[in-house]
Amino acid sequence: MGQLELAGVSRRFAGVEAVRNLSMTVESGRITGLIGPNGAGKTTVVNLVTGLLKLTSGRIRLDRQDIGERPPHEVARLGIARTFQNIRLLKEASVIDNIVVGFHRSDPTSFVAQTLGLPSVRRTRAGLEQRAHELLRDFAMDEYAQCLAGELSYGHQRRVEIMRALAVDPQVLLLDEPVSGMNDVEAAELGAMFRRFAERELAVLVIEHNMQLVMTLCDELYVLESGELIAHGPPEQVRNDARVVEAYLGGELC
């Protein structure tokens, strides 16, 4: 389960066609990479899938269900979670609260119970905080639970953002440059973690500039340039594609 499918997706901003006739598939249990030079339209694709931007034309389907016209909060509830290229945590809130807010859709307490402060609210909150602590332990960050999110180091903030996305309990996880600004060791650590997500039947889409990571991690790659798909296939095939090499000004691919 959890197959994301884009068919002939286009998005135009005034005169500029940011994404043109893009078709791609992100399958559960696999890590799919989306790469391309700056300004190729990668983040636009994520914004289109999550409903933050409206499609100019084309279709987006999750498990054959059309989600292209749905507002972003409904898309999220259907099981699509994301992280942001420029980290967007709730900086005034603690690390644990940042993760707990991700559990929004799995909190069943009724409006009346919340208004009257019935005991069920406290029990549910305690349960969600328990789950947040489990996530924090998975990421070896439990001791930071009470810190303000804005005060963490860059690498740790990225991890909190990934945990928050996992709290949504998604079928599809969209990671927009998850290891940018990290050194190779940290990047490899996170890469191993993404592999574990895929093993848990998640469909993972990674947008990344770190070529070494992309080439070793991804099962399948899509290459965008100026909004157009120029190559698609397994990493070893894409690496040797003449158009891809040209797009990256030759020789930069290891």
């Binding site: 909060h73 967007r88 807010v101 119970a113 406290r122 930071y144 180091s153």
Partner: protein, 297 residues
Amino acid sequence: MTSWLSGYGSVLDLVLLNCGLALSQFVVLRAGVFSVATPALASIGAYTAGIVTLRTDAGAGTGLLAAAAMGTAVAVILSVPLARLRGVFQAIATVAFSQIVLSLALYATDLTGGANGLNGIPRLIGTTQLLLWAAAVVYVLICLSRARIGYAFDAIRQDETVAVTLGISAVGHQTLAFALSGAIAGVTGALMAYHNRSVAPEEFGFGMLVTVLAYVVLGGRRSVLGPLAGATLLTLLPELARPLSDNRLIVHGAVLMLVIIYLPHGIVDTLLIAYRRRATAAARASLPIDEVSDGPA
């Protein structure tokens, strides 16, 4: 105790009523809506209660219920066009809404008494009822702020894009915040009518709009205690500064300026943040050294 209370009874009543208005303003700001419709919604509540009681001889209970219903209904209707606006444009739209309500109160003379307002409303409530109302609102808001709805409000206020990508309906929650704000303002307005025994249109004008906003700015807009502290302080300040006679407003303005410059989160929230910093610093100090070194940059 009782005699002391009765001596300051009128000031206490005023503080409690202003706390009600401050909490109504607080709810929308907490959910990230820059609305200043509280005075207009309170005036709708005041007129509703006044008219119901004067025309039908109904008791305070009926009047308060009618005021709550009207306040909520108008707020929900208002939230529909406001959902298309953000930030300062919401503020401008709600200022315009307040002017419309004020004009209606002035010109619908048959219903509202026009510039004379409504007079001869029986005094149906006392300090006890005001205290109960303020306590009930504080209780509900504290409960909500610790539940899913409070987390959603906080997320929307800090980053609406993040909130929606986590499955939180921004429009739904902001409508809810408006409904709560309208209900609180409506009932508080009705209590003002029953307490003052009259409703005058100019009470709910631009002056109140600025004052109510100042309560929340001064006290803080995150913790429920913030608006309470702001309303209490700004209501008591003119009383305490009475010897300054005509210079009272200068003190009022100076306090506000100082808080905005030096305590931008408001008094209560600034204290809470400082307390939290110290708590996390203590927690951090107990971590092993190597963990600390790769901590915050």
